[in-house]
């Protein structure tokens, strides 16, 4: 996610000096401190689940889910476990930045969509929880299984990028939107009466709504490395990276970073995806350390996100 907040050489020099001499960033954080995110859930009444995430500065991401039933029929003995389907659609709002006006939003949208799709690939538990109903019947001695699954589409709208770290904000928004998505129970109804058709029917009973299982849904952590050494006029700064990465970068830090690594992982502490960007390469030991650090933080973040959502749902129920 390229930002147009390019800093002058003097600003970059101060940023690197503060970090190297005092381990301090311009906003007063230590290198490893994350910012607080402002999170609102159930923002869009027409969506199944939704969340809005804001970071200081003006990073703002809105995510909403929409659901659709898909029914399948399989003949004979079943071999594979049926899974639901999860798709992503990302849009960068033109008002967020001049860069995203017109066709400028296409490349970042495609990049973010493929990133989200790839980090959600290992989330099989989530997709299996999208299984809605199953019905086996014996048709002239042959087994026939009907089943239906939910197909979830997550719409992500990036409303602001001024605070940096849009990827992490987007993963939080997606996970929170999924966690607040409740799916109704589905039952198979044989045709009743004359002309009645058989089919899957939604059970209109709030007690039997089930939340989506998000324990395997990943979050991401972005770490960036600043370069030290010579400042050159064309923005490529220095020759070697500072040893300690900066976690949760602001837009200014992102724009002057020499290397960035986004690590995605769920609560299970297994790696779901890594994305590396930047003008300098990273040595393997640094990557290993950063990935380990990222996975630990992702797990912590998942736990605190789950706690926050549970709390806000409890508060909403208490209000009713």
């Amino acid at each position: 996610m390229e930002s147009n907040k390019r800093l002058s050489r003097h600003e970059q020099a101060v940023m690197v000096q503060l970090l190297r001499a005092h381990g301090l960033r311009v906003d007063g954080r230590a290198a490893a401190t994350e910012r607080h995110m402002t999170l609102e859930t159930e923002e869009i009444p027409s969506a199944a689940g939704s969340a809005r995430v804001r970071l200081p500065g003006s990073t703002e991401v809105l995510a909403g889910t929409s659901t659709e039933l898909q029914s399948h029929v399989s003949e004979g003995a079943q071999t594979t476990i049926p899974e639901g389907c999860l798709t992503f659609r990302v849009e960068f709002c033109g008002a967020a930045d001049r860069l995203y006006q017109g066709r400028g939003a296409e490349a970042p949208s495609a990049e973010m969509t493929s990133l989200l799709a790839s980090i959600y690939q290992p989330a099989r538990r989530l997709r299996r929880s999208l299984m809605a109903g199953q019905q086996t019947e014996d048709v002239r001695g042959q087994l026939r299984t009907r089943y239906c699954c939910w197909s979830l589409c997550v719409d992500v709208l990036v409303l602001g990028t001024g605070g940096g770290n849009v990827v992490d904000a987007a993963t939080v928004a997606v996970r929170a939107a999924l966690a607040t998505t409740y799916l109704p129970a589905v039952e198979w109804r044989e045709g009743v009466g004359r002309g009645g058709t058989a089919g899957w029917e939604l059970v209109d009973d709030w007690e039997r709504y089930q939340p989506v299982d998000v324990t395997s849904a990943p979050l991401s952590i972005t770490l960036v490395w600043m370069a030290e050494g010579k400042g050159t006029a064309d923005g490529v700064t220095g020759e070697s990276i500072l040893p300690d990465p900066v976690v949760d970068p602001s837009a200014e830090e992102e724009s002057s970073a020499a290397a960035a690594l986004t690590v995605a992982s769920a609560g299970s502490r297994h790696l779901c995806g890594v994305l590396q960007r930047g003008v300098l390469s990273l040595p393997p030991e640094t990557v290993k350390k950063a990935v380990e650090q990222g996975i630990t933080r992702c797990a912590e973040r998942c736990a605190s996100l789950d706690a926050f959502i549970a709390e806000s749902i409890a508060a909403a129920e208490a209000d009713e």
């Binding site: 503060l18 005092h22 609102e40 912590e300």
Partner: protein
């Protein structure tokens, strides 16, 4: 790690001239001049205007306008602004400068003091050396010299030692232009831990560590000037890192300005100093957290 949005509300002074789009504005005079941000609707009485943007109603004689609280910078001649050079246009002898306005400002080659401080005609060599004076991404402080009829803004940096490239050890803070009032001095010493700031009327604030040389107020000798103007690595690498108290003060002032901006209070030397004083017990990093902002807003509302 995650917080719910805070629901703080601010009570406004009772006859607040604030309007939202569509709000009625009472204009009893005959022949009222409908200014920017207002319009007359066919369904209303003649003495009623409607606001077309959110902001403050301003009345000058018969002219009624609505000044937007949020929005881009609207230039006036004589404003001191902080800008970032976006383009060096050698063929048309000008720099394009981003000043958070509706369009980029123009800084002509003839509107800068030449290195060496001599008064002479601009030669083709000067044109070729334009990038050595101000390169892309450089921050400069400048004054608005002229606002053309089409809204184009011309800048100048002719006051040596005051205006020109910002090359101190500092950070840029971008705030809403409406929060910075026009005053007589915009290059100010904050009187807090040796910090100084250029409060650009356009909402860009340059906060920096006041060095001995700049504290003498414009007395930078020419040799140093020349050395700093050259885009060599020494100019950047040669600057020593600020000490730890200075670094923390820099972060504190930066966050104080952002906290004031988030809380919608005007940003001035006094308000920055007050926020720095109130926040002494809080580490700089926590100054943008909801807990501190709520306390700050209560304190500011009480003192206002």
């Amino acid at each position: 790690m995650f917080t719910a949005p805070s629901a703080t509300t601010r009570s406004l002074p009772s006859p607040a001239p604030l309007v939202l789009p569509g709000d009625a504005i009472h204009a009893p005079e005959v022949n009222t001049l409908r200014g920017h941000g207002t319009r007359q609707s066919a369904h209303d009485r003649a003495s009623t205007l409607r606001a077309t943007q959110a902001g403050v109603v301003e009345r000058i004689n018969k002219l009624v306008t609505v000044r937007a609280l949020r929005g881009r910078y609207v230039p006036e001649v004589g404003d001191v602004v902080v800008g970032r050079v976006t383009q060096v246009q050698i063929s048309s002898r000008r720099w394009r400068v981003d000043v958070q306005a509706r369009q980029d400002a123009a800084l002509l080659l003839s509107a800068i003091p030449l290195p060496g401080g001599v008064q002479r005609r601009r030669t083709p060599e000067d044109e070729l050396n334009m990038r050595a004076v101000y390169a892309e991404r450089d921050l400069i402080s400048a004054e608005v010299q002229e606002v053309k009829a089409d809204g184009t803004m011309m800048l100048h940096t002719r006051i040596q030692g005051r205006l020109g490239r910002l090359r101190q050890r500092g950070v840029l803070v971008a705030v809403c232009p409406a929060h910075i009032r026009r005053s007589t001095r915009h290059v100010v010493s904050l009187g807090y831990a040796g910090m100084a700031a250029v409060l650009g009327v356009n909402g860009y604030v340059w906060v920096y560590v006041e060095s001995e040389a700049t504290a003498l107020d414009g007395g930078e000798d020419e040799e140093q000037e020349m050395a700093a103007e050259m885009p060599t690595d020494a100019a950047v690498g040669g600057v020593t890192a600020p000490s730890r108290p200075q670094a923390l003060a820099l972060c504190r002032v930066r966050n104080a300005i952002l906290a004031l901006d988030v809380s919608c209070f005007s940003i001035s030397v006094e308000s920055i100093r007050a926020v720095c004083r109130w926040s002494e017990a809080v580490p700089p990093a926590d100054m943008l957290q909801p807990a501190f902002l709520e306390r700050l807003q209560a304190q500011l509302a009480a003192s206002a």
